[in-house]
Amino acid sequence: MYVAAPPAMAETRRDTPTVSLPLRLTGAHHQTFATTAGPPDHDLRRYWHDAAAGYGRSLRDDTLTLARPVAFDVLAAPLLAKLAPGPIDLVVLAHATPEGEPRASAGCVFTERLPGVRTTFSVTEQGRTSAFAALLLAGTFPARGRVLVLVLDQSVVPWEVPDATDVPAVDAVVALLFETGGSGVRWEHHAGVTPGEVVPVLTSFAPDTPAVLGQGMPAGDYDRLGVPLIATAPGLLCTSAWAQLPGLMTGGHERVLLADYDATLRSLSLAEIDLRARPDE
């Protein structure tokens, strides 16, 4: 059970968008999957039909006869087995595309499957930058010990999506395991940013680390940053930048900047991750 009193106000007012989060990354895993779930049952099809119809949209029957969206707990299960053993205090899910089994609670599943979980919740509707929002909440929550952030790209959307690049090409999950304490994440979020403003905002962040630019980042002169740029593979959405972390953790880097942008929402998020915490696996 999570029981808490409200927090005290920070002693100093934060006058910049930069937030130092008390999280130290100790483990990162990434995996992509071929969608294997069969067609939805009648009630689930009705659920999605009615959800779409409320906004004047129709179901994609062609897609649903081949595959159905996969539930988040099913997607994440293979990565849970890779986590270093031990209690996890908080689990935060981040996603943009919908949960495959909306009638159940994937988050609550983790309170049974993982030891020590006091609570769990998900963050969504921040598009490609949803994982960054999850990190902010994970770092603001009064967690004790370890925190797990699961970033989920579910690739089957039951209705037409105007821009196909808003749908991941494959199912993908990134599991990020943090120890609380310290200041291992330097974080910023900028709302209302036009594509032309992205490079200047990044420049003002003054990165001195390699930068991973997510697939949502608009075209721009990123060489102006003067730091090594790490490319991301096409086809991923929320997981795009974060999928690079497992490799970077063993690549000798001390810190790395992750950045992604959602052009529809005009949201730009940045997170500089300290990779020097001792990996726990």
């Binding site: 029981v3 934060r14 959800a51 509707e125």
Partner: protein, 309 residues
Amino acid sequence: MTAIEAVSAYLPPARVPITELAAELGLSDRQAALYRRYYGLDTVCLDPGGTLTDLMLGAAGKLDALRGREHQVRYVIQARTLECPPYPVNPVHDVRDALGLRHAAAFTVMQHACASGLLAVDLAGRLLAAGGDPDGLALLFVGEKAFTPIARQIPGTTVMGEGSAAVLIRHGGTRDRVVSYATRSHGRFSDGLLLTGPAAEEFELRYLDALAEVIQAATSHAGVSPSELSLVLPHNVNRLSWIRLARRIGLPVDRVLLDNVPLTGHCFGADPFINYATAIELGRLRAGDHYLMAAVGLGATFSAMVLQH
């Protein structure tokens, strides 16, 4: 300390008797009568042509405390039970933009189902406190559409209605201060709306104990006993379960605000906040009163929050 600065509640104007929905809900005449006589459920508000965005804007339009303070809003948060808007439709951003709050970060929190609203109050308070800005505000939306048969009732328990609340949250101030919050998720009931058989029976058996547990935890953490609560603002699933719960925790049932159960049914996560607005209208809260908001989300999460008016 996290505080609720203002709450506005919105109910669609069309009020539909449950008896008129019986066929659609698959209720026999006997079941519909049982809902009315024993559960205290009578009507629900529905807006069949409206969207979730409309519901949210309905509540925001009544939130007078927001006017002129839009620049102070740092976060716009929707706390939701169901995956309802078809991605990439994004009501929380649509509403943020419509209210002139483009500078604010916007996102939705889920997984506590109908208890997500209390979670969001806690999270919003933490975000504001971390920012260290005494003028900072968070705008929270709760309530959603009963858009499909499985979202229109919890069989044998309640009928869902449409309604919403907009909640302005700040750090500090003299209004309704959050004193404590307790929440517990029971993952063995994670099948939620799909829960059947022995697991469903166990959930029914454990429901009162689990809800009493978080209420006891929240009141204990707040330094008050349940009997010292001036008012409980419940989720409106039905009258009977609250009568039983009140007995269980030693609280006179007239201190549970059940006035809206026959009028609105269960409006997802909005119930405690709609009930807050009603409590204010009825003069049920006096300065200094400790009161409690409670909610249960299928999946299953039990939550309670003690506040001081």
